[in-house]
Amino acid sequence: MKRCRRFTPIRSKGPRAATIVLLLARPFRLMAIARWLAYRLLPAMLMAGSGAAGAALPVSEVAPGMFVHQGHTEQARSDNGNDIANAGFVVGDDCVAVIDTLGSPALGRQLAASVAHRTDLPICAVINTHVHPDHVLGNRALTGDDRPLFGHEQLPRALAARADGYLAAANRTYVADADTSWIVAPTTTVADTRRIDLGGRTLVLEAWPTAHSNTDLTVFDTGSGTLWTGDLVFIDRMPALDGSINGWLSVLDELSGRSDVKRIVPGHGPACAPWPAGSAPLRRYLSHLRTQVRDAIDQGRTIEQAIANIGYDRAQDWPLFDQVHRRNVTAAFAELEWE
């Protein structure tokens, strides 16, 4: 069983040699070959190697009967197939709950294979921690047969509003065949809390006010004191603000005061982390962002000026900073200018 070591931040690594070759090789034919290899040949080889269970994703056991798959610290790309988030499953005496389904039906199938690899018990619940595509686009592969899919009460509406954008982005960046069958909304929504009994093991789902997104749902394993935070906690990956900066900081405050939470499984980063220490860098980033955006608004600056100037002194602290930070300033500004 893997232990949650004391949290230490990592530095972003430079591009790997293979990536550089692909980028330099101008690029379309090579990219097409690489994609074909990744999507046709490799899965076929893996399937052949692992028999009926299909290609299982690697998982680590972070508590007895609790398994986590770690996504890559990368943007969604064709060579990672959108395998960029954490997901996993919890095994009770009677059945299994799967928490998040990753970024495509193919990854969802591989996660189901990981479950089958570790236990013969059936899956009796699937849970979405929030609306983002790297966490829910595998739903199709894990649902069906009246198996309940749990999500925040705002999740159906948010998913419907974003579906077209997510599928278009998927087809642009990492697959060729994303279509509306990838969009599977929860069958059971949670407005406040809900308990799921897996047999000798209870999970408590808790829906939060708008924070990282307006669909954040945490999953608490009461026995081990482990909280699956979804993207309420990012570690070693640039946090993305798609809800409310004030809401997010206040939810983190509340969670940090919870003495029953011993450790967490974050939405991105290590398979588990100690609590509340694991949230410290995220809270520092968000607090700093909020202070600077408030100052810019007080000084009569425009949103463009804020986007161009704020927060770049923290760039070295976070992998994937550039891609996400501008969006965070934009969202924080549009929220805080109403204060």
Partner: protein, 282 residues
Amino acid sequence: MANHRPRTIRRLLARQFIAATAIAGLLGPTMAGAATADDEQIPESSAWPSLKAEHFGDRPIRDGEAIIGLDAPYRAEDAAIVPIAITDKLSSDDERRIERLWLVIDNNPVPMSAEFEFGPAAASADIATRVRVNAYTHMRAIAETGDGQLYMTTRYVKASGGCSAPASKDPDAALANMGQIRLRELSGSDKPGRRIQMLTRHPNHTGLQMNQVTRLHVPEHYVNAIEINAGDRNVLSATMTFSLSENPSLRFSYQPVGSAPLTIAVRDTEENTFTAEYAAAP
């Protein structure tokens, strides 16, 4: 103007657009592959020829880089809030004056996104707002000067991938406070007049989202007209669509008329009218 078309037609057009993007999405690997490199060629706009014919007929449209600036991010990090700024480049001793402006976003459900008409109290035709971007798209600012000429400046904007989508972050919060208007004076302009940012709390629903519980489409509900006056003189009159972001933002410049306050009226598609006054500090 698309703005003046009956609602049903507009909605029909929007649905056709969605069907078209879904089909385009299925066309597959060449599109996905071509879009991965950042230095790709900017494609021609397939939508523009018919948009031009629809809205401007056979009127000639000249290159506008010397007349009208358009600042838009090449990569829109947040597809729901893409800040854009249109700049009036005519010098104060130029005889021409920009009297109308159009903002066109080729690949949005309703491309003709906003139209601005400037009155005598406008200090310039500088305008900034925030828009939703549904897909990789050309964006156009088209200006009409007093002599009846049209000038166009074009930018290409890529909506970012991943979790960015042109949808609301918190539609309930916007609806709960609908109609609040906030005005603030901005710093740091070297142009004459006073620069104001105006915000209106409004969900600006597109009318295209399926409510999964009721299986009904959320009806469209968005701000479609804004009128701003300084005393008894008009600053600007504008019409717009749900291309503008939730909680629409508008930045403009005006020449104060004595000590008279700015008066603002915002109308939406449900026939609500929200008003505000702003007395600038002397």
